[in-house]
């Protein structure tokens, strides 16, 4: 069971309050596909991913970025049961999408891209303390997402 201190809860709420899902989601997902292009294999149905420009302008990337951040929004609002919340999502990723568990490295890669996008947005407000709490949140989420694999 993951423990969240009062300070951590406050940081999560503060950061999340300042994040626009519609902006950050698409940017983070686009960055994943550009910086780690092999992750494009999971998005064959997304159309034109042939260049950075194409990826950043791709409406399906944008849409899915918002979907991913929407799921993170649920986690933020349910810090005490992220594992339960993500049980269904984990099962889906495994059964329907056949995401190679080894490529849940992709989840870590996406988590890194999210951190970087948030950092560029927040500047020095993304203090080491904030970064640590944020990293904890993403680690818990990725663990929950991979939990149904074995």
């Amino acid at each position: 069971m993951v423990e969240w201190s009062a300070a951590e809860r406050k940081i999560v709420a503060d950061v999340w309050g300042k994040i626009s899902i519609d902006e950050i989601g698409p940017q983070a997902l686009a960055r994943l596909l550009i910086v780690y292009p092999w992750t494009q294999r999971y998005f064959g149905a997304f159309g034109d991913l042939s260049s950075a420009g194409a990826i950043m302008g791709n409406p399906k990337v944008s849409e899915h970025g918002k979907t991913v951040l929407g799921a993170l929004d649920k986690a933020v609002k349910n810090l005490d049961d992220i594992k339960g919340l993500y049980a269904k999502l984990s099962k889906m990723h495994y059964e329907k999408l056949n995401v190679d568990p080894d490529n849940f490295r992709a989840s870590y890669l996406l988590a890194d891209c999210l951190s970087i996008v948030v950092a560029t947005k927040f500047g020095s407000a993304f203090s080491p303390e904030v970064q640590a709490t944020w990293q904890k949140l993403l680690s818990v989420v990725v663990a929950a997402l991979t939990s149904k694999y074995f």
């Binding site: 686009a30 960055r31 550009i34 910086v35 950075a52 990826i55 950043m56 890194d112 951190s115 970087i116 996008v117 950092a119 560029t120 947005k121 927040f122 500047g123 020095s124 993304f126 080491p128 303390e129 970064q131 640590a132 990293q135």
Partner: protein, 143 residues
């Protein structure tokens, strides 16, 4: 994933913009690594103060980043250029090479924070590749 001419040009161009603040970047990145990935503190158990902004962190962050700056000038032969440092890391410091990626991530976070307009996804991918190649060269002598 070796560095193309374009990657090298992108990294050099970015460094010409951020070069004057690399001491700060190094200090910030090291402080963050220790705070966000506490398992890395094990390598610095002999320091009095591991908190972000402390004197030992600032000093050592600068040392590391000076090494990274040097790599930019030696970008055409990282393995050759890092031979001595690789021996140091392999035989004396014995830092698990997995930590090179963690440190690099924090440098990237700090660059993104301080220079958001200069850190587009296209720049990001070249910088990520640069650090990956740097890490490989640094791990060259390990075994």
């Amino acid at each position: 994933m070796s560095l193309s001419d374009k990657d090298k040009a992108v990294v050099k161009a970015l460094w010409s913009k951020i070069g004057s603040r690399t001491d700060e970047i190094g200090a910030e990145a090291l402080g963050r690594m220790l705070a966000v990935y506490p398992q890395t503190k094990t390598y610095f158990a002999h320091w009095s103060d591991l908190s972000p902004g402390s004197a030992p962190v600032r000093k050592h962050g600068k040392t590391i980043m000076n090494g990274v700056d040097d790599c930019v000038t030696k970008i055409d032969d990282l393995v050759g250029g890092l031979a001595a440092l690789s021996e140091l890391h392999a035989f004396k410091l014995r830092i698990d090479p997995a930590n090179f990626k963690i440190f690099a991530h924090n440098v990237i976070v700090v660059i993104g924070m301080l220079f958001p307009a200069d850190f587009s996804p296209e720049v990001h991918v070249s910088v990520d590749k640069f650090f990956q190649n740097l890490a490989l060269a640094l791990a060259e002598k390990y075994r």
